[in-house]
């Protein structure tokens, strides 16, 4: 309905009858752009708060899902059913000594946790959380997301190198090798989607998935691109670095991989980034293949709210799948993973792209 969340906020304020008067104040002062900045700033604060709450919830959810699968309770003491456990974890981590190893590269060592956290949040910017609920609708949203996620291996490499620890270095090397081999099938699977929409904008991709076939089957791209969906899902789990592909950490081999030497808040940053990444990647999977925020309309409730709910339900379903997978399967070996990436997934993704291209050109779909 609206281009982005900014316009939505303006609309709401206008409807409440306060926008005009506020705007006039700034207009008299001749600084209308300050109002724009304030509104955008509010958006970012809301997004940041949402991300943090989500991350905290996800850490709790992960522990609960693991506990469910493993026939135990998980956290139960702090708060109702242990819901406040993430807060306590945060408090504990803040209270820990911040250790920088003697022989570490101090600057890079300190910088790496921040570098890894920022791209994890930047990915949220073009992600449509619901109808009109997007910070900025870039024309190149998908490209931007793939580009920004490519920053995190750099941060991992920095962390691994700066720690001056052999396990960290090996974890970092693995992470980079893994990321290079999985960004390609990831991007190739996403390009097949772009062939349908003709646009890289995330909002356009979601809009293209509105409606149904025969009134029953929703027009999600998963039905047009089943192979692409599987490729994208595998590649995103590899990108997230979760079991069965968690080679950057693989705690039974490399102790904790690239963040072996980190403690306290810096460790927490890696931890938070991991879950931010989990949410972001699941959101992208939902946006590209599972219809984004599309869903049946509910009378009397604004579409912005229902769409947000639909988006969250679908995203949490994907997250649950990732967590479920983690509890069920063992870890692969790094060389097996790279083999799978280069020898299976890249050719299959190219084939998928070719077939999709032919079908689109022929006008079949």
């Amino acid at each position: 309905m609206f281009e982005n969340a900014y316009e939505l906020i303006v609309y709401i304020m206008t409807a409440l009858g306060i926008y005009d008067s506020i705007f006039r104040v700034f207009e008299v002062l001749g600084i209308e752009y300050v109002l724009r900045i304030i509104i955008v700033f509010v958006e970012i604060v809301v997004l940041f708060a949402f991300a943090l709450v989500t991350i905290m919830f996800l850490t709790w959810m992960e522990r609960k899902v693991v506990a469910m699968v493993q026939a135990r309770y998980g956290p139960m003491v702090t708060g109702p059913r242990g819901l406040l456990q993430p807060v306590m974890d945060g408090v504990k981590l803040i209270g820990k000594e911040d250790i920088i190893p003697d022989k570490a590269d101090r600057w890079v060592f300190t910088l790496a946790p921040f570098i890894i956290f920022i791209p994890a949040l930047l990915v949220f910017i073009p992600l449509p959380f619901g109808d009109s609920l997007v910070i900025s609708n870039f024309k190149i949203g998908l490209l931007y997301i793939i580009a920004v996620s490519a920053i995190s291996p750099i941060a991992i490499l920095l962390a691994g190198w700066a720690s001056n620890n052999k396990y960290s270095l090996m974890g970092a090397m693995r992470a980079v090798a893994q990321d290079i081999s999985y960004t390609i099938p990831l991007a190739l699977a996403a390009i097949a989607i772009v062939m349908f929409t003709g646009s890289l904008s995330m909002v356009d991709i979601v809009t293209a998935q509105g409606g149904t076939w025969f009134g029953v089957i929703p027009k999600w791209f998963i039905f047009l691109q089943p192979l692409g969906f599987i490729l994208f899902l595998i590649a995103s789990i590899a990108e997230m670095g979760r079991i069965p592909f968690d080679f950057q950490e693989s705690e039974s081999e490399l102790v904790a991989g690239f963040f072996t030497e980190y403690s306290g808040m810096k460790f927490a940053m890696f931890f938070l980034a991991e879950y931010a990444h989990l949410f972001a990647v699941s959101g992208i999977v939902v946006t590209l293949f599972l219809g984004g925020w599309n869903g049946p309309a509910v009378p009397f409730i604004p579409v912005q709210i229902t769409s947000l709910v639909y988006f969250l339900i679908k995203t949490y379903a994907v997250i649950f799948f990732a967590m479920w997978l983690r509890d069920t399967v063992p870890r692969m070996r790094i060389d097996q993973l790279l083999g799978l990436g280069w020898k299976v997934m890249v050719p299959v993704a190219l084939l998928n792209l070719l077939v999709t291209g032919l079908l689109v050109t022929a006008g079949v779909i």
Partner: protein
Amino acid sequence: METDELILNMGPVHPSTHGVLRFRLRMDGEIIKNCEIVMGYLHRGTEKLGEMKTYLQFIPYTDRLDYISAMPNNYAYVKAVEELAGIEVPQRAEYIRVMIMELNRIVNHIVSIGSLLMDLGAATMIMWGFRERETALQLFEQLCGARMTFNYIKPGGVREDLPEGFIPKLREWMKDMEKRLVDYEQLINDNEIFHMRMKDIGTISAQEAINYGLTGPSLRGSGVDYDMRKIEPYSIYPDIDFKACTRPEGDSYARYIVRIDEIKESLQILRQVIDSMPEGKIVSNAKYGIAPMTGSPSSVMTYFPRIFTPHAGEVYSRIEAPKGELGFYIVSDGTTKPYRVKIRSPSFCNLTAIPKMVQGLRIPDLIAAFGTIDVVLGDVDR
């Protein structure tokens, strides 16, 4: 391109070394060129302690060797002492011993499989396994008051008779275990990634396995049809119908499958033992040795001298412990304390083959092969 070799110290504190073991790896990137094992971080001088304690006093120390399956340790030592001193054991005591050792074998294999899967990154199995293990440990607790370090089997019999309701509870547990075993196999056996990680990893041929002195499931996984319970039948094993589980492949997967099969086989043995458990005494009450008994016996049932002196002589006695051949070499000089106690621990001897197994493989393979060898560091370092 010329690259340097990387020396990686895995351990003594590392999540996958099951304790305080240290691998000194010479690596070419991720490939292991040479693996050297450094141990002794848990060395407690058990053999020296054996020379300073009386025969009965030493039994609790055997519990601390392989603390995952302490009952066979008890038994192996007691069996050696009994052979040395010529002590006869009542039939009921033998049945209780075998029952409790087979229960302990199942517990040991559950832990072994669980920790193997945890090392491979699937933490669910160990939690599931510990659920069943917990119930079994409660059974042990009922029996002798301890969950892991039992001090239950003693020369001439066992310490206490079965408590009331023990057998029905054990039957219930066995029924439960059979169901859970199906769950385990569904979770693990058909998993493609598990196969990728385990097959053709850490392969050792039958010839080499014997040459390296491997025993237990590790040797049976290489296709050697051996089982101390069959080759040198002791206790009541001659009367029991069971088979030695073997697999021909000799890789990590084979060793894993052997353990799963042995759980089934042990359940089979348990069933037979429970069904034919005789009534009678649990401790032999003949007098042995010349030393007078100290202290007063708690009841007639548990009468056995606390201090006794076997004839001068030496004995090597071995049993099939869950991890392999567990043997005690005891030299007696005719006093109340052994002159020399030597422990042939399966973990120590099986570990010898690890450097050979992992040559040219990667770190994750080392973890997988090491997990299937199933060592307990208390048993390695003694």
